[in-house]
Symmetry: C2
Subunit: 375 residues, 2 copies
């Protein structure tokens, strides 16, 4: 039987690492990019195609699923894997970020967050205990602690208070997770480091989390509007505060050059809606930077989205056709743009893993980023 | 080299026939259902998947494509097949039906139809000559004559006048098609019988078309609101007026039981937006009749859409999941419902072909329709 959770590092290159997370439902090659499957679907993609592009794990959203179709319904239907027909690992977030950004009339307290659904106005509560219950009902493989995502910009006092509350909630999350003995026997729990842009707060948070003990650790509170320079400044020290033998996960990141910079700074896992969401609106990621296929200059361009991409969209379809589909609001446009973007991200992760194994990550990163940003 | 166009009948059963149309780009098994690819895409489907479900030919819409992206642009990009990556036969309609139902400020005359685009208000003209030019620019394999789709209900005088105009336009279409020598050497031209619900007008139309001579013949002017009983009453005589050794195509039809009834009356080809359009809104076709997956009774139904369907959607996904996807407006819902519906239609066509070959079409039709209409 595969282990509940193990992380082995095969090679390092500077602060970067490549390795494998082994879990009951399969292995995850790191650095890993997790496509976002918000509402029990990676939008516009069949699960088999998400897998075929190279995804070892996807992300599900606690907030969305608790509201529709409901976590208890999913439990009665056999869990999220069975429901959406994805049999490999799923990481679920805690709902803490979405409840603040999407719901209405939120009331925060030490207990948790009371809110009204953005779908139908119904009243709900999210707390460490309820978040763990939902993620258990979903059958999540990697469960995230319920925390408070500190806003940006923020005063240091407020950032500290928010971080300390998140650490108390991390303790309650750990206890609630462990109380679900049957689920906990096959799943992993990740803590989330907070502290905004202050190194001493990040250090305190890191120590508090390690005193509790988790299978992996996320760097939270980034990608909230601070910009790449500030984010990299935090990543220059924050990942090193976390245990070297545990996966480090940068939540909600990011653009391809964000990912390259974060991997060089020691991050192992990523998730982001960018390849899927921006694909649906016509943005393609390419080695030469992002490209908006709606642009009139593509209307008779017979070339592929990215001549250096190996995906079947680039092998089959012209920019002119994709321009037509997106301009016409055709579903196939959303499908093909999403597929290319997810392929591009997975190819990037594979290239990063290879560069680390070969010990030339710095060269790869410099070349990738300079070409990506050239235009 | 395959023939330009040949139709061979392998077996008959009453008025029904099964056979093969052979063309340069591939063979078409009849009776055939042609998925509709209005804007250079069978909506929510990749072309390879349309083919994998059993489609030998798809339909493209002259009216939509002339307006966006434009037939001349498609010609510059290598034709419709290359543009949308479908290398098998394509039948294009003439634009005559859509120009009356979709465009604004139409002005009809003996010359043709002047109109304003429903997309941007730009002014255009459709005539037999222009329709042939567009279908040539698209690189259509089966070209339809430009005709006037007679409305319903209609007085006999008006139906006769409309039919006679369509016959004059059929002559002009034939001449214009033949003048495009290079395209005509590899493509086929179909005439369209009109005459509404009057047998003597249908007979006059049929004779006029045969005097001109076409590769195949459509029964036009049906499925315009007259209902199945009236449609079948016309199909009891209209197909028999057309040459036995040429394919007969019933345009814009229809529901599964319409198709079964039309095949028993001697029709060989069909097209309809129903499986694709209604799939996107949540209607599934099943052996037990249509099913609206949005219905609350499906919210925890773990069964497949249709237990007797062999498609991969029915093999993988539950009604509960499809209910969730469609209710949530997820693109994957449109994709999977469309795929099932097209699979259901192609399975029906295969079953009809098999029943004709075995000589038990009447039994098959009775059993299919009685089960389909039971609920």
């Amino acid at each position: 039987m595969p282990p509940r959770f193990s992380f082995s590092i095969a090679a390092t290159d500077g602060a970067a690492r490549t390795g494998t997370i082994a879990m009951r439902r399969g292995e995850i090659r790191t650095p890993a990019f997790m496509p976002v499957g918000t509402a029990a679907t990676v939008k516009a993609m069949k699960p088999g195609d998400v897998r075929a592009l190279g995804a070892d794990i996807i992300l599900g959203n606690t907030y969305h699923l608790m509201l529709r179709p409901g976590d208890e319904r999913i439990a009665r239907l056999g869990g999220l894997h069975e429901f959406m027909r994805w049999d490999r690992p799923i990481l679920t977030d805690s709902g803490g970020f979405q409840v603040m950004s999407l719901s209405e009339l939120t009331q925060q307290s030490e207990e948790g967050v009371a809110f009204k659904s953005h779908l139908d106005g119904s009243r709900h509560m999210l707390s460490p205990e309820r978040s763990m219950e939902i993620q258990r009902n979903l059958g999540s493989d990697i469960v995230m602690v319920f925390d408070e995502c500190t806003g940006w910009p923020v005063e240091k006092d407020a950032a500290a208070a928010s971080m300390h509350r998140s650490m108390r909630w991390a303790r309650r999350s750990r206890d609630a997770f462990d109380s679900g003995v049957e689920h906990a026997a096959g799943a992993a729990l990740f803590g989330i480091q907070q502290g905004s842009m202050w190194q001493d707060l990040r250090q305190q948070s890191s120590e508090a989390l390690q005193n509790i003990g988790f299978d992996g650790y996320a760097v939270g509170g980034l990608a909230v509007g601070e910009g790449q320079e500030q984010m990299f400044a935090v990543l220059d020290y924050a990942p090193q505060m976390l245990p070297e033998d545990r996966p480090r996960y940068l939540m909600g990141v990011g653009k391809p050059d964000d990912i390259v910079g974060a991997v060089t700074r020691g991050i192992d896992m990523f998730d982001c809606v960018l390849p899927t969401r921006s694909g649906r609106t016509g943005q393609a990621f390419t080695h030469d930077g992002p490209l908006n296929i709606r642009n009139a200059k593509f209307k008779e361009d017979t070339g592929p989205l990215d001549p250096d991409c190996s995906c079947s969209v680039c092998g089959e379809y012209s920019r002119a056709y994709l321009h037509h589909l997106i301009r016409s609001g055709e579903i196939l446009g959303a499908m093909l743009m999403t597929e290319h973007n997810l392929a591009f991200y997975q190819q990037l992760m594979a290239a990063l893993r290879g560069a680390i194994r070969k010990g030339h990550l710095a060269k790869f990163a410099t070349e990738f980023v300079s070409r990506y940003r050239r235009e």
